[in-house]
């Protein structure tokens, strides 16, 4: 994973780096930590079982972490899921969840 590959992915690297006081290594370390969060998997299980409340709690917590890493595409998907869940909308969350996981995978494979 490099700053350039993050840029390519669409991350707002300038914002992320500023938040990390310009320290690239620190920024990348935080991203690795964030992206390997097991709550990504937990969210899948919760959505699959139709537990909206638990799903909301998990995605809301992820939002609080991933937001600070400035991984815009990933963050935007998380926000989208969060708002649907907040409104308790009965939609097909699988599409959104698959997008989320593929974005995450993209970052992990950098």
């Amino acid at each position: 994973m490099t700053i350039d590959s993050l840029k390519e992915f669409g991350a707002n690297v300038d914002e992320g780096l500023e938040r990390c006081m310009g320290m690239e290594d620190f920024y990348l370390e935080m991203i690795e930590l964030g992206i390997s969060d097991e709550r990504f998997e937990m969210l899948g299980t919760a959505l699959e079982s139709g537990n909206m409340e638990e799903s909301f709690e998990i995605v809301h917590a992820l939002k609080g972490v991933i937001g600070n890493l400035a991984l815009s595409p990933l963050y935007n998907t998380i926000c989208e899921i969060t708002e649907h869940l907040r409104a308790k909308e009965q939609i097909d969350y699988k599409v959104l969840y698959d997008r989320l996981m593929s974005q995450r995978k993209q970052i992990m494979e950098m």
Binding site: R19, M30, G34, K63, V65, L69
Partner: protein
């Protein structure tokens, strides 16, 4: 805080140079903790907690050292709301400012109500913004804590006077339409409570008064402070009647003392148009409060009225005019003749000098009005010296005109006694007029003796050693103990007028006068009775053995020329051989 840069607390300088402050970051997400810690670590020492419970433990352990808490809301084991509530409920922690970290706008109002001072949104803002907000929150909290510490009177919990005045000024600024009353309340004879029952009880009384004052002022949306000692200031919306205030305070006092003996006095100044500034309004309330007699239990609330206002203006004008009065000779002296009644016929023997002030605008100003005013203001010394000088000049003139020595008595005020220059000035006054010390008798009021007995004895001894005769004026008005009388250096006792007023054959007042005459005889000093107005009084006093008398019965105070005529008449009387013998006999005494 203060507007002036020089008076502003220099928190930043302290912050950068003196020591590092400690901030606690509370968040269950390690990434957030680390990012925020990384932003702040250059300026602050950082402590971390990941649950509400951990946070409370850290806060309690470090409460004296924590400058700020950054608090996430949603965490396991005790969320942020729990932390906010716990801190707010614990007085020892409630001074620590808390900034809430949240992405949830809807929670902000709730957090403010629970005591948060600010928010940082998630995702985090620019680090510079975060640091500036944190620095500002800490600075404001220090200012606030200092204000709280210094703005509260430790004994009573009321505001301090500085905080009170600042608060009232702010109030006025934003409520210009409100009709406000300035109120001063104090405890009648509070010094006696402290003396008789001790300071601890005195403090309890003050706390009781404060409780009453607080409840009363809060009931009308007002505020109160302890201004000093037993004096309280209240600023309150205009009320028709202040009985509720005295009642509430008296009830508290009764709870503590179980008597109704401790009374409060209340002075009220209503200024619905705010024509004068805050300090002036409270000064006037104070004037009204002081107008209530200390022992008068009937009416304990006084309103500042036009009469008081006019009196104050009058007093202030008189004080301003004193220099001009001296330079323009508005003061003049008159002489109250004194008669020696020991012989068969009363004989003019001396005079008391009295001062009169003819003000160009107000006419004659009463001496019992302007003399206390000058005493209070310290200008009495100038006036006394003027009188001594005029008196000495006149004694010289009578010596030259009639060839007789008529000694005159002059007043020596309390402030003169402590003037190291007193004896020299008196001697110079005599020298200027080629007089001897026995030409000028010095009257010192009894209350001056009782106020400061040891110092005064020394001064009076020096005056007497220099040849001056010292009379104790207004004897009986103060509280001389009989024991003290024997050790006092005096040459005559002057009975206070009040003793003479109601004397009659065999009544209580007369017995008292006879008793005092006996004391004087025991001390070997003559007694001078003043205020003698009738022949009955004269005869009773003569029969009882009084030595000298002054008062309207013989003569009112007269001008120097009229007094000259009295001397002439006296000289004519003395030419009769019998009278002459008496004079010689008494001179030999």
């Amino acid at each position: 805080m203060a507007l002036n840069v020089l008076r502003t607390l220099d928190i930043e300088a302290k912050h950068e140079k003196d020591f590092r402050r400690t901030i606690l970051i509370v968040d269950d997400e390690p990434i957030n903790l680390r990012i925020l810690g990384n932003i702040l670590v250059a300026e602050y020492d950082i402590a971390y907690a990941q649950t509400g419970e951990e946070a409370m433990e850290e806060i309690r352990n470090q409460k004296g050292f924590l400058s700020l808490v950054l608090l996430d809301l949603y965490m396991p084991k005790g969320n942020g709301f729990m932390v906010l509530d716990s801190i707010r409920q614990d007085e020892s922690l409630s001074k620590i400012p808390i900034i809430v970290l949240t992405s949830d706008k809807s929670a902000e109002v709730d957090c403010l109500r629970r005591g948060a001072v600010d928010f940082l949104s998630k995702p985090y803002d620019n680090p510079e913004v975060i640091r500036a907000r944190i620095a500002r929150a800490i600075e404001l909290s220090i200012d606030r804590n200092i204000i709280v510490e210094t703005g509260v009177d430790v004994l009573t919990g009321l505001m301090t006077k500085e905080y009170f005045f600042q608060y009232c000024r702010e109030y006025d600024k934003f409520h210009p339409e409100k009709e406000m009353d300035a109120i001063v309340l104090n405890v009648s004879k509070f010094h006696l409570i402290n003396e008789l029952y001790g300071r601890v009880f005195g403090d309890r009384i003050l706390q009781g008064v404060a409780d009453g004052v607080r409840s009363a002022s809060r009931s009308c949306g007002g505020v109160a402070c302890r201004y000093s000692g037993d004096c309280f200031y209240i600023y309150i919306e205009h009320q028709i009647n202040y009985d509720f205030l005295t009642r509430m305070v008296q009830e508290k006092l009764f709870e503590i003392s179980e008597t109704n003996d401790i009374r409060v006095r209340v002075g009220v100044y209503s200024d619905i148009y705010r024509s004068s500034n805050l300090e002036q309004r409270f000064d006037r309330a104070m004037t009204a409060c002081n107008s209530i007699g200390r022992s008068n239990a009937a009416d304990m609330v006084a309103l500042y009225d036009n009469h008081m206002h006019e009196k104050e203006i009058y007093e202030a004008k008189l004080l301003v005019d004193i220099d001009r009065a001296v330079s323009e000779s508005q003061f003049n002296v008159v002489f109250q003749p004194k008669y020696d009644i020991r012989g068969d016929e009363p004989r003019l023997c001396s005079a008391e000098v009295l001062v009169r002030w003819k003000h160009p605008e107000y006419g004659f100003v009463r001496p019992d009005f302007f003399i206390p005013l000058f005493e209070e203001n310290g200008r009495i010394k100038d006036l006394d010296r003027y009188v001594w000088h005029e008196a000495a000049k006149q004694v010289r003139r009578w010596k030259d005109m009639y060839g007789v020595s008529i000694p005159v008595s002059v007043n020596v005020s309390r402030v003169d006694i402590f003037d190291p220059d007193l004896l020299d000035y008196l001697k110079k006054t005599l020298d200027d007029n080629a007089l001897a010390p026995d030409d000028l008798c010095l009257e010192i009021t009894e209350t001056a003796y009782t106020d400061s007995v040891t110092q005064i004895i020394e001064v009076v001894n020096n005056l007497r050693n220099a040849g001056f005769k010292v009379e104790m004026d207004d004897f009986g008005k103060g509280y001389s103990s009989l024991n003290m009388l024997t050790s006092l250096p005096i040459d005559a006792l002057k009975l206070d007028m009040a003793f003479i007023k109601d004397i009659a054959e065999n009544n209580k007042e007369m017995s008292m006068v006879e008793f005092i005459l006996q004391i004087a005889r025991f001390l070997g000093v003559p007694v001078i009775a003043e205020g003698v107005e009738s022949s009955e009084q004269y005869l009773l006093l003569k029969k009882a053995g009084c030595d000298i008398i002054q008062g309207y019965y013989f003569s009112k105070p007269v001008s120097s020329s009229e007094f000259g005529r009295l001397i002439e008449r006296n000289l004519l009387d003395e030419k009769e051989p019998e009278a002459l013998e008496q004079v010689e006999a008494s001179e030999q005494e």
